[in-house]
């Protein structure tokens, strides 16, 4: 098990390095940060001084090595736009995004999995048909439209829920949470539904397809032939066999939820990393963009590792060294 984790971490290194190279290339080729930093009036001497200060006059690979070295020490430089350490900016924004993403993922699983099981077991009931039709909306409507429609309905017409921001937050050390106040929770509802709806319908359709697949297998028929209760067959035997693909997709989607919270955060003016990223793009604030990319890549790599480890927990066939043999 330990060897497996080590090998996966080693495999992750080239991935991270590639992402670092791409993020770094943005420094060199996307826009002209010097022009943005200097503003309208500057002398050639000022410009050259700044270029020297930023180390932009050095060869590409020297710059890259420096960038990687700094990144390894958690040093991503200063934001051009806000003139503050990038890491502080991201640390400030991360709780908002993570809380939103986790709430959305939780919502998606909590609603999506039972709906998938139900539609898999009772394929022809009218409720299943309704769920499937409803899921088409989730799959096909773009996120920003869903967000705007929700705001229109629940904030503008009904006035029940806030239309933007995180509401009241409480500081727990450096982590600011919205979970502990009523206002914070109310503010979470619309964005997390917006962000989670697609994932929910995706999970529902996946669980349904897997259930239909598994229910046709011989071991389910045999479990019925052994006279096990419906509950034991459907939930004990069938559901567990659907879990491997569901875990894979859910894991990848959790990464996607965090990475692509950008749209939802923009619609709801949610003070998270996505919004920070969008604002940085507007200002060609490359250190922030690069750090954000690296962070998201690290997140995907970590989630993939966790997903792989979960496989081992679910499927005994993957556990190596577990007494192979027989006759």
């Amino acid at each position: 098990m330990f060897a497996f984790i080590v090998s996966r971490v080693l495999q992750a290194l080239p991935v991270m390095l590639a992402v670092a190279l791409i993020s770094f290339a943005m420094f060199a080729y996307v826009g002209d940060p010097v022009a943005i930093m200097l503003g309208q009036d500057y002398t050639q001497a000022q410009r050259e001084a700044l270029i020297r200060d930023l180390g932009l006059d050095q060869p590409f690979f020297v710059q890259f090595a420096k960038f990687v070295g700094n990144a390894l020490q958690g040093e991503f430089g200063l934001s051009y736009r806000l003139s503050r350490p990038v890491l502080d900016l991201i640390a400030e924004r991360a709780p908002a995004t993570l809380e939103l993403a986790l709430t959305a993922a939780f919502l998606a699983l909590l609603v999506g999995v039972p709906m998938g099981i139900y539609t898999g077991l009772y394929r022809n009931s009218w409720l299943s048909r309704f769920f499937l039709t409803f899921s088409l909306i989730g799959v096909s409507l773009p996120t920003f439209l869903i967000g705007i429609l929700l705001i229109l309905t629940f904030s503008v017409w009904l006035g029940w829920l806030p239309s933007f921001g995180r509401g009241d937050t409480v500081k727990l050390g450096w982590w600011s949470t919205g979970y502990l106040t009523w206002g914070g929770i109310k503010a979470l509802i619309l964005p997390s539904i917006t962000l989670g709806l697609f994932q929910m319908t995706l999970i529902m359709r996946l669980v349904r397809a897997e259930m239909l697949e598994v229910l046709r297998t011989d071991y389910i028929k045999f479990a019925r032939a052994r006279g096990l209760t419906n509950r034991a067959v459907n939930f004990g035997h069938a559901l567990k066999n659907t879990l491997v693909p569901v875990i894979t997709i859910t894991g990848l989607q959790l990464g996607a939820i965090i990475a692509f919270a950008i749209v939802t955060e923009t619609v709801f003016q949610w003070p998270g990393m996505g919004l920070l990223f969008i604002q940085s793009v507007g200002a060609a604030d490359i250190p922030v963009m690069a750090a954000y990319l690296l962070l998201i890549a690290a997140l995907f790599v970590t989630i993939n590792l966790i997903v792989d480890l979960l496989y081992f927990a679910v499927d005994p066939r993957l556990r190596v060294g577990g007494g192979k043999g027989g006759h």
Binding site: Y219, A225, L228
Partner: protein
């Protein structure tokens, strides 16, 4: 055997599959009995309805298949029309099932011990610890070496033959009165087949369990079964004691089947071969379903469908054995029906 009440009585069973292009009749007017402790072999080509009969008995026909007519009774109680919940207590507890492919019959995510324990605690008044002890006993009984250790192994850690032994243990562990074994050795190596059949036979004898053994292997039937039913296109073509059916087959189809088994005692240049193929369910010919392939076909076979008739030592669905053709014998043949029925 004939003086006891049959354990399983199947009467005029008809199974239909509604499809978009009309209803397919998969089983038509199938009747047979299985007596306590008896092994009934069921043979036939693929699609003849052998497995379908087994599935109908354990109440697990694939939808949209359904029992359209007839009845199935176990120990005098009708089980074909039981509500799902009651049928559940029959399955496993009173009728055990063994499927064809041991590689796919066991749930890959649970240990064999867990699967045995859950089956026993579902049907028998045992707590999990007692059930576990019995599970080890069962694994020993079906010949799993080092059962006490192997009980915590997963199915993929066993070979095919060993897995089928586990399946047999699972089918028998709630001590049912009847086992429906659907081609239990088809997926196994030839060398393993004999072992598994021998095990099944021994256990059934020891426990006094009746068995319906579905297979297309006449050798297995000859060795294991007491009686045999030969199926063709969803009907029973011939039924009788194994010795009689093998040695003196009456139905031309059975004669053809027996002729296509290579004899070991002497060399044969060419095996007998039945011309053509079994008709699809959607195109079963009028009259006797076998008539297009039958070497002894005559006019009546093309128009009228034969019921099971006395044919010497067995009963065959073939007009060759109709005494009604000779007018006077008609009444005798009719009255003879009930008497010989469970012979």
């Amino acid at each position: 055997m004939s003086n006891t009440r049959p354990l399983l009585e199947v009467r005029n069973l008809r199974v239909e599959f509604p499809t978009r292009r009309g209803t397919l009749v998969a089983l038509d007017d199938v009747s047979f009995d299985i007596h306590p402790g008896e092994v009934l072999g069921v043979v036939g080509e693929s699609g003849a309805g052998k497995s379908m009969t087994g599935a109908a008995i354990i109440g697990l026909l694939e939808p949209p298949g359904r029992i359209a007519a007839g009845s199935i009774s176990l120990a005098g109680r009708r089980i074909d029309n039981l509500p799902y919940k009651e049928m559940r207590t029959v399955r496993g507890r009173e009728i055990g099932a063994i499927f064809q492919d041991p590689l796919t019959t066991l749930n890959p995510l649970y240990t064999v011990g867990r699967q045995l324990v859950e089956t026993m605690t579902t049907h028998l008044p045992l707590n999990p610890a007692q059930a576990r002890k019995k599970a080890i006993e069962w694994l020993e009984l079906v010949g799993i070496p080092a059962a006490a250790q192997r009980i915590d192994s997963y199915p993929h850690e066993f070979s095919g033959g060993m897995r089928q032994r586990v399946v047999i243990a699972l089918a028998l562990c709630a001590e049912p009165k009847l086992i429906v074994a659907d081609e239990p050795t088809t997926a196994l190596d030839v060398s393993i087949q004999a072992q598994v059949i021998a095990l099944l036979k021994t256990l059934a004898r020891e426990k006094g369990t009746s068995m319906m053994l579905v297979t297309h292997d006449m050798g297995v039937i000859a060795e294991t079964a007491d009686r045999v039913a030969v199926m063709y296109a969803g009907r029973i073509a011939e039924i009788g004691a194994v010795r009689q059916v093998v040695k003196h087959p009456a139905h031309p189809y059975t004669i053809g089947l027996m002729g296509s088994i290579p004899p070991i005692s002497h060399r044969m240049d060419r095996l007998l071969q039945i011309e053509g193929a079994m008709p699809r369910l959607s195109a079963i010919p009028k009259g006797c379903a076998y008539n297009p392939r039958c070497p002894r076909v005559f006019d009546r076979c093309r128009g009228e469908r034969p019921e099971l008739l006395d044919a010497g030592d067995t009963r065959a669905a073939c007009w060759l054995y109709d005494r009604a053709d000779k007018d006077a014998a008609h009444a005798v043949a009719e009255s003879g029906y009930g008497e010989v029925r469970h012979a």
